[in-house]
Structure formats: structure tokens, C-alpha cells
């Protein structure tokens, strides 16, 4: 069989719309990305860029009433998840794809023992006895560094870092093929963040899990991702390997993001903020969404902008590459 295999995950032209006060909020506007088995891609962007909406569309857990996937496909090993029924999708969630949410304080059920919350996922997706599910849950607790005898405790008895470990244990209990991690360490202190990131990458390596890591922290991306996509106003502005993005950031927005963080190794009197703010998602500019804030914008930016290849071979959605570089 010489047939070329479909990529592990292929998202194509995905668009998501929310309705709010009768207005359409364009949260995701034509996102395409592919991800191979065992690899990690980082989605980087600011609040409201649409990162979480992308992850929720893959898992189809967008709020029913207000959100709608208006275009695109999400293919997992060639199968379009958007064609599946809710019943089939339920088989996939938690089993083949699972998600770690930002806030471990609200992701857990406060009235249920932590061990039971892990065992529940195991029992749902595997035909096993209650005792077997509990044993598996205890193993998972140990794997994330929590003693198994805390199985019967409640979330409020755990610290923030430990709660996030429980959330990770739930997400990984069925050894999913794809993990969606939405700002998994944002609510944690740096020392605990380092522990949790190490835990995620160890477990990921062990099971050859693919991961989409959503974050606004470029340091976290540098340390965990193979590939990076910079997201702005629901579009990918620039995407490439970690080396390409960190060594040759090309899009004016990417450059702006890097410039806005205080440098740990140099002393600068003033920071370089990006002027202005995200465009109103109910009223996006027709062309490049970053143009109103971009120091290099010209009239060319007023019509739709497509990806251009940069000299080092990564994709950048900018029509003034020479200016931005020069």
C-alpha cells in the first residue's frame, strides 16, 4: 500500500461564530493546521484571539445556543469529526481526545471525591469493573505525583497545583491520542508550573500523545512545543517550527509580542507595547485584522491577505514582508 497516510490531525478552514445581542461575533476565521502523532503545536495569542474556541470546536463542546461552526473540517486520522453524531462524538471525548482547562478550581466537581472523578472517565470508556476503574484511578494519581491514599478526598482539600494534577490525571486516564491543553499552567506559580509542564511532557512522551497547547506565554511555548502558530483575531498570522518562529519572527504582530515582554537579559528603560487593541470581533476590518495597529500597514493591507513564504520557509500572513523585515 503506497497510499499517503492522512495527517494525524488536520483542521481546515475552520470558522466559528458566536451570536451576541443579535450580532455575529467572528471568533475563528478560517484556521488551518496539521499535527503529526507525538508532536506539540503551540497556539499563541492574546485574550479574545479565538484560541480556546479552536480547541472547543475540535472537541465540539462549544456552547450550543450561542456558538456555531460555520465552515471547515476537523479530521482525525482522515475522519471528519464534524460529521459525527453527538453519540459518536461522546465516544471520542475523553478517550481519543481530551482537554485540560485553564482553571483547575472550576474544572473539577467540588462535591465529588477526586478519585471518583478519575474513575468515572475510566469506567465510561472501558468495560471494566468498579474496582478495576478505581485501581486505574489510583495508578493515575500516583503517576501525577499524588499519593494514592488521597483518592477519597475532595477538591477543596487540594492546593491549586494538585488540583491541576488531578485534571491532568482525568485527561490522561484513557491514554488519549490528542490532548488539548488550554493554558494549563496559567493559574499556577512558576515553581509549580515547571513541575506540571515536566509532568505533561513526560506523560506525553510515554504515550506518544499529540498536543495542542494554548498559551500566551512565549517562554512556555519555547520549552514545550515543536511547532507554533501565532493567532490574532481568529486567524493564524504566522506559523512554523519553534526554531523558525523564535529565530526569525516575521509578522509585525509576532515581533510586537516578542518586543512587549520585558527582556530577562537586557536592561531597557522602556518596553515596546503594541499600540491600540484587538479589533472588535463583531466588526472586523476587511483586510488584515492587525493592520489598524501595524506600524508597516499600507493600502495593500485593506484587502484580504494570504500566507507568504518567508526566506526560511515558514508561513506568514503579511503582504509587506520586505517592509516589516527591513
Amino acid at each position: 500500500m503506497e497510499q499517503k497516510q492522512a495527517p494525524f490531525l488536520e483542521v481546515k478552514d475552520l470558522a466559528v461564530e458566536y451570536s451576541s445581542d443579535g450580532k455575529a461575533v467572528h471568533a475563528v476565521n478560517g484556521i488551518s493546521l496539521t499535527l503529526e502523532k507525538g508532536k506539540t503545536i503551540g497556539l499563541v495569542g492574546e485574550t479574545g484571539a479565538g484560541k480556546t474556541s479552536i480547541a472547543k470546536s475540535i472537541l465540539q463542546i462549544l456552547p450550543d445556543r450561542s456558538a456555531r461552526i460555520t465552515a471547515g473540517t476537523v479530521k482525525l486520522e482522515g475522519q471528519n469529526l464534524l460529521d459525527l453524531t453527538e453519540k459518536d462524538m461522546r465516544e471520542i471525548r475523553g478517550k481519543r481526545i481530551s482537554m485540560i482547562f485553564q482553571d483547575p478550581m472550576t474544572a473539577l466537581n467540588p462535591t465529588m471525591r477526586v478519585g471518583q472523578q478519575i474513575a468515572e472517565v475510566v469506567a465510561l470508556h472501558n468495560s471494566c469493573t468498579k474496582a478495576e476503574a478505581e485501581e486505574r484511578a489510583k495508578k493515575m494519581l500516583e503517576m501525577v505525583g499524588i499519593p494514592r491514599d488521597r483518592f477519597r478526598e475532595y477538591p477543596h482539600q487540594f492546593s491549586g497545583g494538585m488540583k491541576q494534577r488531578v485534571v491532568i490525571a482525568i485527561a490522561l486516564a484513557c491514554e488519549p491520542d490528542l490532548l488539548l491543553a488550554d493554558e494549563p499552567t496559567t493559574a499556577l506559580d512558576v515553581t509549580i508550573q515547571a513541575q506540571v509542564l515536566k509532568l505533561i511532557s513526560d506523560l506525553k512522551e510515554k504515550n506518544n500523545t499529540s498536543m495542542i497547547l494554548i498559551t500566551h506565554d512565549l517562554g512556555v511555548v519555547a520549552e514545550t512545543c515543536d511547532e507554533v502558530a501565532i493567532v490574532y483575531a481568529g486567524q493564524i498570522m504566522e506559523t512554523g517550527t519553534r526554531e523558525q518562529i523564535f529565530d526569525h519572527p516575521t509578522h509585525p504582530y509576532t515581533i510586537g509580542l516578542f518586543g512587549a515582554i520585558p527582556d530577562m537579559n537586557e536592561d531597557e528603560e522602556w518596553l515596546h507595547p503594541i499600540d491600540g487593541m484587538l479589533p472588535d470581533p463583531t466588526d472586523l476590518p476587511p483586510g488584515c485584522p492587525f493592520a489598524p495597529r501595524c506600524p508597516y500597514a499600507t493600502h495593500k493591507c485593506e484587502s484580504a491577505v494570504d500566507f507568504t513564504m518567508t526566506p526560511d520557509g515558514h508561513a506568514c500572513r503579511c503582504c509587506n514582508l520586505e517592509r516589516a523585515e527591513g
Binding site: 512558576v190 515536566k198 517562554g219 531597557e268
Partner: protein
């Protein structure tokens, strides 16, 4: 240069059903006029409580607070009111620290009205000037907080803090809730205001890159105590306390070509309730030995660089 604010043996304990919670425990700090002291540490280390105790939002349990050389630890109501004009605070969360039912201008005007020293006309003018100062467009004067984005809301919080022309401002995680591009705008604003108005800041944060950028001196707190205090650059170049080392080591780096072998710090913060009289970090410290189980003292190891670790020589040897 003179010292604007100083504490001697400052303590703030909170009673809990399980015992005394030592939030701030014997803290001695000094901030020079026009300087910024950064206070860093993990959640629960007492850094916010320290800031709030300094400006009398909490009544201190023990120790002394000096403001412009005067002991202000215990002050009466009218003295406190006058003192509060000199000491202000900017809170972390601009979403909850501003009254949702007051407009931008009303919020900024309120401290001026409460002071009772200004006429209506003066207050109007001052409020307009303050809005310009913090970069809020005049068209936003009648806007309510929910109509503003996080960056603008924090500007309202800054404008309100500056209204009575204070000398000292506690900035309690003022940019933690903001996106990086907006964070840079607000940090630049705070720095510009400091230069223009000779402000003295205590800058409380858990973000090491932010604290390095904004501070002249940095104090590292662990479970209510200062474990290391040094000029900003010195602290980053030459951290001496095992906890400071671990904290700096845990920061994710954007430098992809120099990957470091990271030594992860073990465990989590231990309980601040009835802590033992010993090094509070020793349970997590890889250098800990017998001599760490006794009280530690902050010692000056080089000019301006203080460390509280009996094994500092062995650790850095």
C-alpha cells in the same frame, strides 16, 4: 536621598480555627524616596499582606512602620485619613476593584471629594487632568467599567490612586490580569508617572521578568519572611538563597538554543499556620542540613545584598 518608608519587625498574623497564620513574620524593609521595591514570591507567601499592612489596610500585629521617619504604626482616625492621602494602592484585578456603578470620571473624582479640600470646579479640572495623565480619552468620562477593556480599567485604577498626589503607592500585581501588549503599556505608564511625580513604589508581583524590569531593589518572600533582598540586577546575576535560585530557575525561557537542565523544586509551600521556628524553606531545600532547623537571620553578605540562610557559603561554594 531619604528613606520614605521603613518597617521594623513587622508582623501580621491572622487567627484561624487551626492556629495563628503567620502571613507577615518579622519583616524589615526600607524603601528610598523615588525607588521601587519589588516584592516577589509564590501565592500565599504574604507579599500582598505586607503591602496592605504597610498602608494600614490591615492592622499590624507587631512591629513598627515608619513613614518619612515618623512612627505611623498606630494612628488615630484623622491622622489615618491624612496618611492615606500619602499612601495609595493599585489592585490586581481592575474588574473587581472599581465600583461597577460609577463612571470613569466619578471614580477618579471620589478621592478628591472625600478629602473635602477642593471646590467643585477644582475637582472637575483635576479629574480631567488625571484622565489625560493616565492616558484615558476624555470621551470615556461617562463610560462605566464594563465598557472598558482591562488595560483602560487599570488606567482608571491608577488615576484614582494618583488623585490626591500621594508619595507612596503599593502596586499589587497591577499587570497580572493584562495581556502582554497591554501590560507593556501600563508598565511604561507607571514608570513615566514615577519619574514625573517622584513616586515611590512597592511593586508586588509573581512575574519575575516584570519585577526585574521595574524594580531598583527586590525582596524575595517565602512563607511570611524575607529570604533575600538585593539590588535588582544583583539579585538576578547572583542569587544566593536556595529558594531564589529555584524560583529564577523555574522561569520558562524564550531562549531556545540554550536549554537548561532544570532542577525542579520539590513539593509545595508548607502551611503558614503555626510554623516551626526554623528555616521555612528547609523542607523543600536540597541543601538542608541539621543547622537549618533553627531560626534564620537576614545577613548582609555584600553591600545591599541580604540573605537569610545559614548555609549560604556551602550553597554557593
Amino acid at each position: 536621598m531619604s528613606t520614605l518608608i521603613e518597617t521594623k519587625g513587622l508582623k501580621k498574623y491572622f487567627p484561624t480555627p487551626h492556629g495563628m497564620l503567620h502571613a507577615v513574620d518579622d519583616v524589615n524593609i526600607k524603601i528610598e524616596e523615588g525607588h521601587t521595591l519589588g516584592v516577589v514570591g509564590e501565592s500565599g507567601c504574604g507579599k500582598s499582606t505586607l503591602g496592605r499592612t504597610l498602608i494600614h489596610l490591615h492592622e499590624s500585629t507587631d512591629g513598627q512602620i515608619f513613614f518619612e521617619g515618623k512612627d505611623v504604626t498606630h494612628v488615630g482616625k484623622s491622622e489615618l485619613k491624612a496618611l492615606r492621602e500619602q499612601m495609595q494602592i493599585i489592585f490586581q484585578d481592575p474588574y473587581s476593584s472599581i465600583d461597577p456603578r460609577m463612571t470613569v470620571k466619578e471614580t477618579i473624582k471620589e478621592p478628591l471629594q472625600i478629602s473635602g479640600r477642593f471646590s467643585k470646579g477644582e475637582i472637575e479640572d483635576a479629574a480631567e487632568e488625571l484622565m489625560n495623565l493616565v492616558g484615558l480619552d476624555q470621551r470615556l468620562r461617562n463610560a462605566y467599567p464594563h465598557e472598558l477593556d482591562g488595560g483602560r480599567r487599570q488606567r482608571v485604577g491608577i488615576g484614582r490612586a494618583l488623585a490626591l498626589n500621594p508619595k507612596f503607592i503599593v502596586c499589587d500585581e497591577p499587570v497580572s490580569a493584562l495581556d502582554v501588549s497591554i501590560q507593556a503599556q501600563v508598565l511604561n505608564l507607571l514608570k513615566r508617572l514615577q519619574q514625573e511625580r517622584k513616586l515611590t513604589y512597592m511593586f508586588v508581583t509573581h512575574d519575575m521578568s516584570v519585577v526585574r524590569h521595574i524594580s531598583d531593589e527586590i525582596c524575595v518572600m517565602y512563607l511570611g519572611q524575607v529570604v533575600e533582598l538585593a539590588p535588582s540586577k544583583e539579585l538576578f546575576r547572583n542569587p544566593l538563597h536556595p529558594y531564589t535560585k529555584a524560583l529564577l530557575d523555574a522561569i520558562p525561557s524564550t531562549d531556545i538554543h540554550h536549554s537548561r537542565k532544570r532542577e525542579l523544586i520539590r513539593g509545595e509551600l508548607t502551611s503558614p499556620i503555626n510554623p516551626k521556628d526554623e528555616c521555612r524553606f528547609c523542607a523543600r531545600c536540597k541543601y538542608a542540613s541539621e543547622c537549618c532547623h533553627k531560626p534564620q537571620k537576614l545577613v548582609e553578605v555584600s553591600p545591599g545584598h541580604f540573605v537569610s540562610c545559614t548555609r549560604v557559603d556551602e550553597v554557593n561554594g
